[in-house]
């Protein structure tokens, strides 16, 4: 036994030495599980004494360190706002721009920029008053580059604009001047200080090229997948079925993708590869906007405003910086505006207080306030009707454009714009407001006009005649967002507003132009009971030979806008059961979806009664439904129906029994019905 043990031990000893000598140890190491303890961490070790480790900051050093005087920026790095821009110069009047006189001839592009600044609110005539001095970069052929300008001051608060940097390399160091340059290089670009601009190709209309047109809105399947920009405007395209190319350009030789003729058209491809040196396309005002954003810091544009339609240039930061204050971002964020509306009643020359209208509007549960804009020469009436909502009288300036002034008294997002002679029912107002909440960026109106191209006159015309489509709503009865007052007053050229003041009917056209140019969408029409005899007739062009010059405003506006922004629509939004041969009974079911957009994961109780129409049981054919239901109408409903006794203005053939029964074409009943929409 013992000898066996001894032998075994000797064997073990020998074996181990053998292993050592043969260096089989690494193999053995492989045989041993690499991680001897299941789940043991690989990677950074868990220290036994990790708890005892000291913090990186000694006590007392954090959270704050020793007080030190403010640092003086040292050279070598790059300029930023604090160091190289004197913000205090902009404190008074905001961003004011002075254009340094240009030496030598100026190009068309430069002239265009000068004109756009001069007509904008940024322009200043004095270099002392201005917070930004603009120096137009050289456009002259190489060799004639401009020298350092006067009033240079090390470049402080200067903006050097360089649209075609290739023509003239930088002749003087920018110093503390900002450089707004087309396609700048990353080495010289100072992020957060300089502005990068797109580079215009020579064929661009602003550089003397012919205007072009895009025919297709979206790429078709089966067209080339990839296009590569080449020298002088050519494109090389490769189809979706091309074999995968190694990224060394070899596929070009293998396959020779087809090449479009030089300077032909944009490629109809899904992706376009643009080599770094020359990207193409100018928005100078955008550069100013960027600078303005930096100056205002806190009240600057959030990125959402820059990156979604209609773009930051049309979302004035002086109005608000919160996207929810603008009409444009509700729909794309899936929300809808909350709150109520302000009725803005414009009283013109006749000076009759619109008592009936005030009562009808004040009857709406969504009305927050009534503002009367008194633009008549007559004295104010001593007494106004008692309303449940506050009524304020504003003294107007007897200018038509005054009705689109952003009056401080307007406290809600929604405005119901009215004329003294408009006539609406509470139901109509309620329904139109509900529609506006679904489309807060558009105008929602009752009366419409449509524009057309008049071949005979060779110009645009518009008509109030009832047609199958429309492109404008009258502001004598329309809902829209109050932001359009700000845009109307602060972004439209003064010339257009003067035009509207001179020819009052033009003001509707102008407002519709503005909203359509911003949204690129048509307005929305909601049903209206009757065509009012008093409704302002548009001065239809072509109606008579001796048109006053003001009638031509649609053409003047189209010219000023540069295109015809109006978009036609062929639909009208009606209540869901509009003029359906049904009546209804209320059911005790509440609808949690009332506050749209904010429907959280959980349903919220909404106390509002909900109606089910079509006869409660709903098993009957609809043609019979109303007969039985009449007797089951709630009492309030019956009283309402019989007392108003609304005659059907448009009797439908074959449904006379219904319209004579005294039940109006109720869209539904109870709290949320638009019973009086005829």
């Amino acid at each position: 036994m013992q000898s066996w043990r001894r032998k075994a031990l000797w064997l073990a000893l020998l074996a181990s030495w053998l292993l050592v000598l043969l260096r089989v140890f690494p193999l053995l190491r492989l045989a041993v599980p690499a991680r001897p303890w299941a789940g043991a961490p690989q990677g950074w070790p868990r220290w036994l004494d990790a708890e005892l480790l000291q913090s990186f900051s000694q006590a007392g050093e954090l959270p704050e360190d020793d007080p030190q005087p403010p640092q003086v920026p040292r050279g070598g790095g790059h300029c930023d706002w604090g160091a190289c821009f004197n913000v205090s110069k902009c404190r008074g009047g905001g961003l004011k721009v002075f254009v340094s006189p240009v030496a030598g001839p100026i190009s068309d592009t430069q002239r265009g920029i000068l004109a756009s600044i001069e007509s904008s609110s940024y322009h200043s005539v004095s270099p002392d008053e201005a917070c930004l001095l603009l120096l137009l970069g050289p456009e002259a052929p190489a060799g004639e580059c401009s020298p350092v300008p006067q009033q240079w001051n090390g470049g402080k608060n200067q903006l050097v604009l360089s649209l075609h940097p290739a023509l003239c390399p930088q002749t003087f160091p920018p110093g503390q001047a900002m450089v707004a340059k087309a396609s700048p290089a990353v080495d010289t670009f100072r992020p957060g200080f300089d502005v990068a601009l797109p580079l215009l190709p020579e064929a661009h209309p602003l550089r003397g090229g012919a205007p072009g047109q895009l025919r297709q809105h979206s790429p078709h399947p089966g067209v080339p997948l990839l296009a590569l920009a080449e020298e002088r405007g050519g494109w090389r395209v490769a189809g979706a079925d091309s074999p995968a190319c190694p990224w060394d350009g070899r596929c070009e030789q293998n396959r020779g993708p087809e090449q479009t003729p030089l300077g032909a058209t944009l490629p109809n491809a899904t992706f376009c590869v643009i080599p770094g040196h020359r990207p193409e396309a100018l928005h100078f005002l955008q550069a100013l906007q960027i600078i303005q954003d930096r100056i205002f810091g806190a009240s600057a544009h959030p990125s959402l405003l820059w990156n979604s339609p209609p773009g930051a240039l049309l979302a004035l930061p002086t109005f608000s910086t919160s996207p929810s204050d603008f009409p444009f971002y509700h729909l794309q964020r899936g929300s809808r505006p909350v709150g109520r509306f302000s009725a803005l009643i414009w009283v013109g020359a006749p000076g009759q207080p619109p008592l009936k209208l005030i009562q009808a509007v004040a009857g709406s549960q969504h009305c927050a306030q009534i503002l009367v804009l008194w633009s008549s020469e007559k004295p104010l009436p001593p007494r106004w009707p008692k309303t449940t909502v506050p009524l304020t009288v504003l003294a107007g300036q007897r200018k038509v454009s005054d009705r689109f002034f952003p009056h401080r008294a307007i406290s809600t997002d929604a405005i119901l714009s009215l004329d003294a002679h408009s006539s609406l029912t509470t139901s109509e107002v309620d329904f139109a407001f509900a529609v506006w909440q679904s489309f807060p960026e558009r105008m929602v109106g009752f009366l419409t006009w449509s524009h057309f191209w008049d071949e005979a006159q060779g110009g645009w015309g518009y008509t109030a005649e009832r047609t199958n489509e429309f492109s404008m709503v009258l502001t004598s009865a329309a809902f829209y967002h109050r932001y359009y007052h700000t845009l109307f007053t602060h972004s439209l050229p003064k010339f257009l507003r003067t035009l509207a003041d001179e020819a009052p009917t033009c003001v509707d056209v102008l407002m519709n132009f503005l909203v359509a140019a911003v949204t690129k969408l048509p307005p929305i029409k909601v049903p209206y009971g009757k065509q009012h005899p008093e409704a302002r007739p548009p001065l239809a062009p072509g109606a008579s030979e001796q048109q006053p010059p003001a009638q031509d405003c649609i053409n003047q506006m189209a010219e000023e806008f540069g295109y015809m922004p109006l978009v036609s629509s062929r639909l009208r939004l009606d209540p869901v059961l509009f003029k359906d041969p049904v009546s209804c009974t209320p059911q005790e079911v509440s609808q949690p979806g009332e506050t749209l957009g904010e429907s959280g994961p959980g349903p919220r109780p909404a106390p509002r009664g909900h109606c089910i129409c079509g006869g409660g049981g709903g098993r009957r054919p609809p043609s019979l439904a109303h007969l039985e239901i009449q007797s089951r109408l709630p009492i309030s409903q019956q009283i309402f129906a019989s007392s108003t006794g609304l005659p059907d203005p448009h009797p439908r053939p074959g449904s006379s029994a219904l319209s004579q029964s005294g039940v109006s074409h109720c869209s539904c009943c109870f709290a949320r019905c638009f019973t009086n929409i005829r």
């Binding site: 604090g82 709903g618 609809p622």
Partner: protein
């Protein structure tokens, strides 16, 4: 067995003297557990055995030293050790003349100083990060270069090592993180630390090396970036200024606040708070303190300027208290009492108070010119903070007052969310830094602005409408009608004939869903003026209706059932024109509604004639073809399979999908209330069946739970032609025959 166990011990050997004892004792222990050899042995044998084992042990030790000593610098295998002490890490002596890296190149950018090729093409689009093993560096005299490692840096390396980025294979790594702790410049010797960096095995002028530093500079001038020469290495630094920050190369990180872990601070929602403006920093330069005091004097109660406490009793942590005259406030709790909190530069630009302020849901008012805010490469600080130039400090109050309340609340929410996502822990800071570098290397797979900046509630609740441009597609394109059919050939042919009368129809696609029967011969099909194509499916599934067939060339799609013969040509044409005005919505005919049933506490499907609509039936509906793609490939959860299995509710699923992605309501057109064919008077198919209604309600509940929300929007309008039911000659109307109920 014995050997293999010993082998295991070998691997973990630390070649210092104590280790020998560990092995000895352990092996003895093992022997005891074995056949119990030693106790029963005779004396003369015992000598044998002891010598024998000594020889074995010595041999083993010698082998181990011989084999592993040269490898241990690079080998990652020493991480296999489970438990070790930080004090036991290998010591590396740095000769006084060992090389020092270059100072650092201010012009470095990713395309000049970073070797992207090391990262290679990676199907996961994730960079691989290697961590050097921990060493203790001493100089010629044995004096340590720095503290071996701080608690935070240890946590940071642990977080990286636990993440998907980590690799233990130095050859596959694209980014290298030294274990040399440079978080606080004050705790290290600059020249020697630089030498330690330079001797790292893959240093190569610092290419692809990443250093983390939160407290840069030192007295008296407090540089805003780490002073340790580092050549091309990337620096993740807290407190960069525009003068030292290499845009697109360095990463600006927060200064971690130890209070984040130490203090439990329950979240406080946004809304008005007791103080409008609060300054809680202790070490504020006297000039700035004067300015702050002046603001307080002017605005009284709404401004609170706190300072160090001078007379605290023993044992009270001074970092956790702030004082105003004799009033003592708890820090950081007091931050929750303020709407805006001042974050003023100290000697350094980066201040840990920023983290505390964000956590308290207080909007930071950053007054530190040229400071690069943490993670500003990806985070939109305009949404969570107010940056005020030092020069304008006296105007701070009026600047803040001009911000509307609604925006303030959004900023408060955003501030708290930034803290939760990117400031909360060392791990969050480390992973955000790596994500930023990852985004640069794989820009095509980078996180979007929304993914970085939108709080989860917004992300879930918000929509990203793919068809967001306000375009009205040209009418000339027309629409493609897709008829899903099984075997009702006669009815199908009638539908085809009816639909072909619609002027804007440009193609008709029949989806033949019956695998057991062939479609009728070509000659039997109705002759129509547009191309007609038949697609055969592999399986009878409802989702085949919503498949993005290559044959669909128009943007507009009309999905229509093979029994919908009651729709008039005017009705369909009008539907198409309405769709053109609302190309991102479902445009359909009969509308349906979802309701909340309070008794049952669940959703209910409603097909009665209500004056509200939240869904349209897809038995006949226009929509953009993109939604076919979404339905087939991007439908959340198991909804698609569920619908196919139940052969029902594909229309409700489509309504949910479109409403969820666009956030918009459906458009119901024309008065039509149901798809009732004139012949089938008795029973209206299934749709009136009680069990059917229950099933539809179940679908709504199921989908709402999968989507995690109720995306459907309720509206009270429908679209009719402009002159619908107007007192106007019918023959002059564009759509005189708009259909019945």
């Amino acid at each position: 067995m014995l050997l293999s166990r010993l082998g295991a011990f070998w691997i973990m050997l630390e070649w210092e003297e104590e280790a020998v004892c560990v092995i000895m004792c352990a092996s003895v222990k093992y022997n005891i557990r074995g056949p119990a050899l030693i106790p029963r042995m005779k004396t003369k044998h015992r000598i044998y055995y002891i010598t024998l084992f000594s020889i074995v042990l010595l041999g083993l030790i010698a082998t181990g030293m011989f084999q592993f000593w040269p490898h241990s610098i690079e080998s990652s295998s020493d991480w296999n050790v489970e438990k070790r002490s930080v004090r036991d890490v290998p010591v590396v002596r740095l000769p006084a003349d060992s090389p020092i890296p270059e100072r650092g190149d201010l012009s470095c950018r990713m395309h000049t100083c970073f070797d992207v090729y090391r990262c290679g093409f990676n199907p996961k689009n994730k960079i691989k990060v290697y961590i050097y093993s921990l060493k203790k560096y001493v100089d010629d005299f044995g004096v340590p270069v720095s503290n071996t490692i701080s608690r935070e840096y240890n946590e940071l390396l642990m977080a990286i090592s636990d993440s998907d980025y980590y690799t233990d294979d130095i050859n596959r790594a694209c980014l290298f993180v030294p274990s040399i702790d440079v978080l606080n410049q004050n705790t290290l010797r600059i020249k020697e630390t630089a030498q330690a960096l330079a001797q790292l095995s893959r240093w190569d002028r610092g290419t692809n090396h990443l250093l983390f530093n939160m407290l840069p500079g030192g007295p008296p001038d407090y540089n805003t970036a780490l002073d340790v020469p580092r050549d091309r290495a990337l620096l993740a630094g807290g407190g960069f200024s525009t003068w030292t920050y290499r845009q697109g190369y360095d990463v600006s990180i927060p200064v971690y606040s130890p209070l984040s872990a130490e203090v439990d601070l329950p979240e406080k929602g946004p809304g008005p708070r007791r103080y409008f403006l609060l300054s809680s920093q202790m070490a504020v330069h006297p000039e700035y303190r004067e300015d702050l005091e002046a603001i307080q004097a002017k605005h009284g109660e709404s401004v609170l300027v706190l300072d160090k406490c001078t007379n605290l009793s023993e044992g009270v942590l001074s970092v956790r208290k702030r004082c105003r005259e004799h009033q003592v406030y708890d820090y950081p709790q007091v931050l929750q009492e303020a709407t805006f909190c001042v974050v003023l530069r100290g000697a350094r630009l980066g201040q840990a108070v920023l983290s505390d302020v964000l956590r308290a849901g207080c909007v930071p008012v950053v007054i530190a010119d040229s400071y690069i805010l943490p993670f500003s490469e990806v985070l939109d600080w305009k949404r969570a903070s107010v940056v005020v130039p030092e020069e304008k400090m006296s105007d701070v109050y009026s600047i803040l007052q001009s911000i509307p309340q609604r925006q303030i609340e959004e900023m408060q929410r955003q501030a708290r969310w930034f803290w939760e996502a990117y400031f909360q822990s060392i791990k969050a800071i480390a992973l955000a830094t790596l994500q930023i570098i990852n985004d640069r290397i794989y820009p095509y797979a980078a996180l979007s602005y929304e993914e970085w900046n939108d709080p989860p509630t917004v992300k879930w609740g918000s929509v990203s409408n793919p068809l967001f441009l306000p375009l009205i597609p040209p009418q000339s394109q027309g629409f493609t009608a897709i008829v899903l059919t099984y075997d009702r050939v006669e009815s199908l042919f009638r539908v085809i004939t009816e639909v072909s009368k619609v002027p804007s129809l440009s193609k008709l696609l029949v989806v033949w869903n019956n695998q057991n029967k062939n479609p009728p011969e070509d000659s039997l099909w109705p002759k129509i003026r547009v191309p007609l194509k038949v697609v055969r499916t592999a399986e009878n599934k409802l989702s085949n209706r919503f498949f993005p067939y290559d044959e669909i060339e128009t943007e507009a799609v009309l999905a229509i059932d093979d029994d919908i013969i009651m729709l008039t040509s005017d009705e369909l044409q009008f539907g198409y024109e309405v769709w053109r005005e609302f190309p991102d919505r479902l445009v359909g005919y009969p509308g349906r509604l979802h309701l909340w049933d309070h008794e049952m506490s669940k959703w209910k499907y409603e097909s009665e004639w209500t004056n509200e609509v939240s869904m349209v039936l897809t038995g006949a509906a226009f929509y953009h073809k993109y939604f076919n793609y979404l339905y087939t490939y991007k439908m959340p959860g198991d909804i698609k399979n569920w619908v196919d299995a139940h052969m029902n509710c594909e229309d409700i699923a489509m309504n949910f999908l479109v409403a969820n992605v666009t956030g918009k309501a459906v458009i119901k057109v024309t008065p039509r209330k149901k798809f009732k064919c004139p012949e089938c008077t008795a029973i209206d198919g299934l749709s009136l069946d009680q069990t059917h209604m229950v099933e539809r309600s179940e679908c709504i509940n199921k989908f709402a739970s999968v989507f995690g929300t109720m995306p459907l929007k309720v509206v009270e309008h429908r679209a009719d032609p402009v002159l619908y039911k107007d007192d106007f000659p019918e023959k002059l109307k564009s759509f005189p025959n708009i259909g019945s109920l």
